[in-house]
């Protein structure tokens, strides 16, 4: 059982929670994730990214979007409540070294898993450029934390309500055209954003890492539900990833696989909104 230490609603569907998980807080490294379960008897196991950790306090920070049944139930929890199970840290940590200039592109809640990576890249002595994007100002998260790390910070919104108007790929392209080119790009966000970031950097030959968040059950290599095609080979996101060379990932297949249980998820999401509606009226 993991007690919730703090809870903040960042936007309509995005929540930030600090939970007690001393073992994970001690071992986790940038790029790793956890599997969360809200009910041991009937709950689903869902992968969530680790946005931050405090090994002294024994806590990890989860930032998640309330999109399915588990994340809805998690979002409903309050400070002092507990999360039934958190397994981790899982996945291969990000390979961190001094490369020169590293561009970190975070889209939507992809900024959350980007945070520890940007932090570690900065600590390794890199010049860190951060591009943060969201549909609108309201959905832009962790601006302060990222500002503290960034040597250069570029904010982008689809509707222009904050920062530059447009998509993250535009400033990314400009950075690739700058001399010297970035030494590495790390892109984390919705699959479609990662796909287009990889397409943006490909002509410039800039090494681009993406961090994938696929459907998983165990998170330890046992089920293979998370498999993706990378460079024509099948890889397991949970044990081989979650980070892969973005130029090698078959994003189209991955996006389709992500929709495997879409009907069920849509129904749950709809039910949740009905519940919220009823609760509001009551």
């Amino acid at each position: 059982m993991h007690q919730i230490i703090s809870r903040t609603q960042l936007s309509a569907e995005v929540f930030r929670m600090e939970v007690a998980a001393p073992l994970i807080a001690r071992e986790r490294q940038a790029g790793q994730f956890v599997i969360v379960q809200v009910d041991l008897d009937w709950g689903e196991r869902v992968p969530l990214t680790i946005a931050d950790a405090d090994p002294v306090a024994g806590t990890i920070t989860l930032i998640f979007q309330s999109v399915g049944r588990t994340t809805h139930l998690l979002a409903d929890k309050q400070v002092g409540d507990t999360v039934a199970a958190i397994l981790g840290p899982l996945g291969q940590p990000t390979h961190i070294e001094k490369l020169g200039t590293v561009v970190c592109v975070g889209g939507g809640i992809g900024v959350a898993p980007m945070h520890p990576i940007a932090q570690a890249m900065k600590a390794a002595g890199n010049h860190v450029v951060i591009i943060m994007g969201a549909r609108n100002r309201e959905l832009l998260i962790m601006e302060e934390e990222m500002r503290r790390i960034a040597d250069e910070l570029i904010l982008v919104t689809d509707d222009g309500s904050y920062g530059r108007k447009g998509l993250v790929t535009q400033p990314l392209k400009e950075l690739c055209e700058r001399a010297p080119k970035p030494d590495c790009v790390v892109a984390i966000g919705p699959p479609i954003m990662m796909k287009f970031c990889a397409e943006t950097t490909r002509p410039y030959g800039v090494h681009t890492l993406v961090s994938l968040n696929t459907i998983m059950v165990d998170g330890t290599g046992m089920c293979g539900g998370c498999r993706v095609t990378v460079g024509g080979k099948t890889k397991f996101v949970c044990v081989d990833g979650p980070e892969f060379d973005g130029h090698q990932v078959d994003f189209d297949n991955m996006m389709k696989r992500l929709r495997s249980y879409k009907t069920r998820e849509d129904a749950d999401h709809h039910q949740c909104h009905l519940d919220l509606e009823l609760a509001r009226k009551a």
Partner: protein, 501 residues
């Protein structure tokens, strides 16, 4: 196929038993040979294909006694040699034949830890029942004494009576042992090491203990409560259970020894990395490893969509690739989850199928269609990358190879398409890389299995291993046998150390 009900089986056993008891003299070998092998009472296939309850309902007392009376009590006991943990089979059968069921279970417990599990899932027909003299005399292994069913009978009786005796535990030695994995190997080691007075912590990556016994083997073959009872017994013995703890990630194996005060570690993490066919279309939507499909259905209980939050694919036409027990489990699960047709596709013939004959029979009774000497060549998808068919090719048995086994040869130009919306790949598992990757100095073979010496010790000091992580995918009883061996080695090693206050 007509179904004989459990009540009918019991009634005929009653008549025969009374006849034999009325003889008023010891049975002769001729009498014993004449007793019909007792059929396992099963749920009606029509009924069970729509429920998750156990298929085999277990012998009635009359059937059990009658079956035990069939044993010829051979002096050389070939059955014992066929048992990986050498249970004194003739002695436990004699106890049942005499009506001393409690003594029978006591005999089994001298060497086996999980009789209710092994009685259900052991491949007895290739182990203890294979060399049975009675079976040989009657010219069929199907007519051997049904040792496994009798083991299950007395184990169930003991459990249901609540008379399970807690084993004696030696005084505390102050030594600590970590057991990684809570499948059959880990459970065995935990029990044996704890009995010697050492503190034991069991580490499990999932949220529930039991390993393959709970995520893999379905409820209809091995009810979860039976496994849970074994775990409860360990906890009652003072074994500590840490779930949601993946050694290698939550904590490195070496840290358990160097920093957390464990004196020894046993690795029993199983064969948990599914193999795929490496054919085109295998990453389409609707293609699953049997591990994923069964874990969703078993451990995550997706068979109850009203309660379970874990979704499972709603399939109409399912193809299962493979011919082992896991393939049968997946096919039979698909039937229970409401598939209209389930097609089992296997490259060889039924004779070569690694699955137990009983499981093959059950699958057929429940309506699984068998497609033998065929194999998948590629999986076909629609515009949404969803499975809509599978291209198969036919095989024929070629000339015998060096081992005398006729290997299948592809028939050129025999390709055809099977209409399916789901493909479940059940062609085996490789070893899980997590511990290997995070434990420097731990030697493995070319398959990634941990290499051990004859005592179960690995290349690292104080680290032992057993079960599928050493053997590759094998059986519950072999994992248990390996566990007993490693536990003995751990206990010996710790006994040589001074007592710690």
């Amino acid at each position: 196929m007509s179904h004989t009900t459990p009540a009918q089986l019991q009634a005929s056993a009653c008549i025969k038993l009374n006849e034999l008891l009325a003889l008023g003299r010891p049975l002769t070998p001729k009498d014993r040979l004449a007793i019909p092998a007792q059929e396992m009472p099963n749920q009606d296939p029509q009924v069970r294909s729509a429920n998750m309850q156990e298929v085999a309902t277990g012998y009635s007392p009359e059937q059990a006694r009658l079956e035990a009376m069939r044993c010829l009590q051979c002096k050389n006991a070939p059955c014992v040699k066929g048992c990986p943990v050498a249970i004194d089979i003739p002695r436990f059968l004699q106890a049942i034949a005499d009506g001393r069921d409690a003594d029978a279970i006591a005999v089994i417990r001298e060497t086996s830890l999980l009789p209710a599990v092994c009685g259900r899932v052991c491949p007895q027909e290739t182990q203890c029942q294979a060399p049975c003299t009675l079976g040989k005399a009657l010219k069929s292994v199907d007519k051997s004494v049904m040792i496994g069913r009798l083991e299950r009978y007395v184990a169930d009786l003991e459990r249901e009576s609540g008379q399970v005796r807690a084993p004696a535990i030696q005084p505390s030695t102050g030594r600590k042992v970590a057991v990684i994995g809570t499948g059959p190997a880990g459970i065995t080691v935990a029990a044996d090491v704890r009995r010697a007075g050492h503190a034991v912590t069991l580490f499990e990556a999932f949220h529930k203990p039991g390993g393959v016994l709970v995520y893999g083997i379905p409820e209809f073959r091995l009810p979860k409560r039976i496994v849970q009872q074994e775990i409860d017994a360990l906890v009652a013995m003072g074994v500590k259970l840490d779930t949601n703890f993946v050694v290698g990630r939550t904590r490195k194996l070496q840290d358990l020894l160097d920093q957390d005060g464990f004196d020894a570690v046993f690795v029993g993490t199983g064969a948990g990395l599914p193999k795929f066919m490496n054919i085109p279309g295998e990453n389409l939507v609707g293609v699953f490893s049997a591990n994923e499909y069964l874990t969703r259905a078993n451990l995550m209980r997706a068979y109850d969509p009203d309660k379970s939050h874990t979704p499972i694919f709603r399939s109409r036409q399912v193809a299962v690739l493979g011919g082992g027990n896991v393939a049968m489990d997946a096919a039979r699960m698909a039937i229970r989850l409401g598939a209209e047709s389930v097609h089992l596709v296997y490259r060889r013939t039924e004779v070569e199928m690694p699955a137990r004959v009983e499981e093959v029979g059950h699958a057929k009774e429940e309506g699984v269609q068998f497609h033998l000497l065929q194999n998948a060549k590629r999986i076909l998808g629609d515009e949404h990358d969803c499975v809509q068919g599978m291209e198969c090719v036919r095989y024929e048995l070629g000339a015998p190879d060096a081992s005398g086994r006729r290997s299948p040869v592809e028939v050129k130009g025999s390709e055809f398409v099977m209409t399916v919306d789901t493909v479940i790949v059940a062609i085996g598992n490789e070893s899980n890389p997590l511990i290997r990757q995070t434990t420097p100095g731990l030697n493995t073979n070319k398959y990634g299995n941990i290499t051990v010496d004859e005592t179960g010790k690995t290349s690292l000091d104080r680290v032992f291993a057993g079960g599928d992580i050493v053997l590759g995918a094998a059986t519950v009883i072999l994992a248990m046998g390996e566990g007993r061996r490693a536990a003995a080695a751990i206990n010996n090693m710790l006994a040589a150390l001074p007592l710690r206050p």
